[in-house]
């Protein structure tokens, strides 16, 4: 969750201007670097902002290796806004921007794919080609992974280390294997681990100064592919949005060709999701209880037919109908009790497993209330499903019960 960016992150997205503005819609330049500069200058409620101009399907060369990827031209604040961390080297800086330097910061997956022969290679100072233009690598992002993958990797490493220490000499090529194959980051982070950023000024000069459509040069393409900012104080979120809206209305010459995409919706969706998961969890629990109850009832009914004779004997020596009823209900409750106990043991084991495989902040929380409630439910279900069999048993005619079987 932390690695995708928080609720304070907002994107300015293009939208079709309203009907009445169609006539002068062309007067708006769309999202440009100027927007970002204006926001940075005039919006105190915004802590940082970055324009992004993307070069998709870029050919990335290093020696004999060519891969394809997407390159973002941006400001240094891109790193903060998108929750990146520079692990080795440095971030882009204002000087890179001013002088439109050919420098880049690249993701760990890009490093691993460009230098596959060297695990954990440090490429700082190396030159790579982006669409045949040389760029110097000045920084590498940290490797992003899910908490559980991280934990698994660390455990594997510890084990490997522990094994390695008593026998240090046999340095076969194998030993490098575990650390070399950085797993292709799992789906949410593959894109993030493949990030390449360059100064947006460099992007504009090198790659966006001409845009050829159908063999005709349309002139420089200064429109941004993304414009993202971060609200300083989440409690003044709406206020901050209004501030940005005023500024952009100015720079877009009153054309409302932009909108805000907030993470709020995403968070709402997640919340909804969690809610639904809980609901369906409850539903599943309910159905399980129902099925379990029917199971107990069947067991009790079967055990009663098996024990008709016993019931007859008990009646003959003085058991009242009520005594038989109570006996069956108690037995059924005991089944529920034992079932509940087994369930608790099983869920304690499951919990251990879940804690082991899930990220730290997602670890399941066990509340005493829930434990008691579910245990109580098991007993109650036991009692309830014993009622009908107990009623049947208590109504058996003693003489016929004695004669049975």
């Amino acid at each position: 969750m932390q690695q995708v960016g928080g609720i304070e992150q907002v994107s300015v997205i293009p939208q079709e201007p309203p009907e009445e503005q169609q006539l002068f819609a062309d007067t708006s330049p769309g999202r440009t670097v100027k927007d970002a500069e204006s926001i940075e200058r005039s919006a105190p409620l915004i802590s940082s902002v970055t324009p992004v101009s993307t070069l998709g399907g870029c050919a990335i060369h290093r020696g004999p290796i060519t891969i394809r990827g997407s390159v973002d031209g941006c400001w240094p604040s891109y790193v903060e806004i998108n929750k990146h961390n520079v692990a080795v080297g440095r971030n882009l800086c204002d000087l890179d921007l001013e002088e439109a330097k050919r420098v880049c910061v690249i993701g760990k997956v890009i490093v691993d794919r460009l230098w596959p022969e060297f695990p954990n290679y440090n490429p700082i100072g190396e030159t790579i080609l982006l669409n045949n233009r040389p760029f110097t690598v000045v920084g590498v992002f940290e490797f992003y992974e899910r908490e559980q993958d991280k934990r698994r990797r660390q455990l594997a490493q510890e084990k490997a280390n522990a094994k390695a220490t008593p026998t240090p000499t046999p340095a076969k090529k194998r030993s490098g294997r575990s650390s070399r194959s950085t797993p292709l980051g799992n789906i949410p982070f593959l894109a993030k681990n493949s990030t390449i950023i360059i100064p947006i000024s460099t992007m504009m000069f090198e790659f966006k100064s001409a845009s050829v459509v159908g063999g005709v040069d349309q002139g420089p393409n200064l429109k941004l592919d993304a414009l993202t900012f971060q609200v300083a104080d989440i409690n003044r979120f709406q206020e901050a949005l209004a501030q940005v809206r005023r500024i952009l209305t100015e720079t877009h010459r009153t054309v409302e060709d932009f909108a805000f995409s907030t993470r709020e919706e995403m968070f709402d969706a997640i919340e909804q999701n969690i809610h639904e998961t809980r609901m369906s969890g409850g539903l599943i629990a309910g159905i399980s209880l129902l099925v379990g109850g029917i199971g107990i009832m069947n067991i009790m009914l079967a055990s009663i037919t098996e024990r008709i004779r016993e019931i007859g004997v008990r009646r003959a020596v003085g058991a009242k109908a009520r005594d038989i009823f109570v006996q069956i209900v108690v037995e059924s409750a005991v089944i529920g009790f034992i079932g509940g106990l087994l369930g608790l043991i099983a869920s304690a084991a499951m919990m251990k497993l879940l804690i082991y495989i899930s990220p730290g902040k997602n670890a399941p929380v066990v509340e005493l209330d829930n434990v008691l409630i579910s245990f109580g439910f098991a007993v109650v279900i036991g009692v309830l499903s014993g009622l009908y069999p107990a009623w049947k048993a208590s109504r058996l005619d003693p003489i016929e019960a004695l004669r049975y079987g």
Binding site: R309, R314, V317
Partner: protein, 240 residues
């Protein structure tokens, strides 16, 4: 005062449209301390009569007093109480609970009498000693012979000190020697003051009891009570 008194007791069974007159106007008294056999051919109504006497069922009509209590219209709970406190049963097929030990089987009636665990144990041990099974206390019925099982059943019937013991074909599932032992035990209990009513279709067994109540087609045809001293001759002189 008679222990049991039946006046014009009728029992009808209805199976669909058909009505079966299982007992057809029974008049009978059994006194305290008697040892009697109900005898008659199969289907004559012996078991039905014993079920009524044993408070397992109520008559269709007529009056039935047990120990001075009118049970002919008694509720289920009242009948349970009577069975628990005043009556002991011995069945042809023993009817012990196979998963309980001998001791637990004998304790069973006292559980429903609300006797404390300690007293249950003590009284059960006394009853078990009376049938001479004290070294089988921890066994389960399946580990016992038929005769031993029937002894356990007798101990169970005795344990609540009932006013009367009913035994329905108690030797029916036993070989003749074991059966004779069981009958010997009944005789001893009778001598000790117990009231016992046997149900049997076997004239030889009935011949061993001081009194025979002969039943045919739901009617008592002979209810002689003979002086034990005159046994043998007295068989011919009904004393109704």
């Amino acid at each position: 005062m008679p222990l049991i008194e039946l006046i014009d007791v009728v029992k009808r069974y209805k199976i669909g449209e058909q009505e079966i007159l299982a007992l057809d106007g029974i008049d009978l008294t059994i006194d305290q301390g008697e040892y009697a056999a109900i005898i008659g051919p199969s289907g004559s109504g012996k078991s039905t009569l014993m079920h009524l006497l044993g408070c397992l069922d109520t008559p269709t009509s007529g009056t039935m007093l047990i120990d001075g209590i009118d049970v002919s219209r008694a509720s289920g709970n009242k009948l349970s109480e009577m069975r628990n406190q005043k009556i002991g049963f011995v069945f042809q097929s023993f009817n012990l609970l196979p998963k309980l030990t001998v001791l637990q089987n004998v304790e069973l009636p006292m559980i429903y009498a609300g006797v404390s665990a300690r007293e249950r144990r003590e009284r059960a041990m006394v009853a078990i000693e009376r049938v001479e099974l004290q070294n089988r206390v921890k066994n389960t019925p399946l580990q016992l012979s038929g005769g031993q099982m029937q002894r356990v059943a007798i101990a169970r019937a005795l344990v609540n000190n009932p006013r009367i013991i009913f035994a329905d074909e108690p030797t029916g599932n036993l070989d003749s020697r074991t059966g004779a032992n069981i009958l010997q035990l009944f005789r001893e209990l009778s001598t000790g003051g117990c009231t016992i009513v046997l149900v049997t279709h076997d004239a030889k067994i009935a011949a061993q009891t001081p009194r025979r109540i002969e039943i045919r087609d739901g009617k008592i045809v002979d209810s002689e009570s003979m002086d034990p001293l005159l046994s043998g001759q007295a068989q011919l002189t009904p004393t109704k």
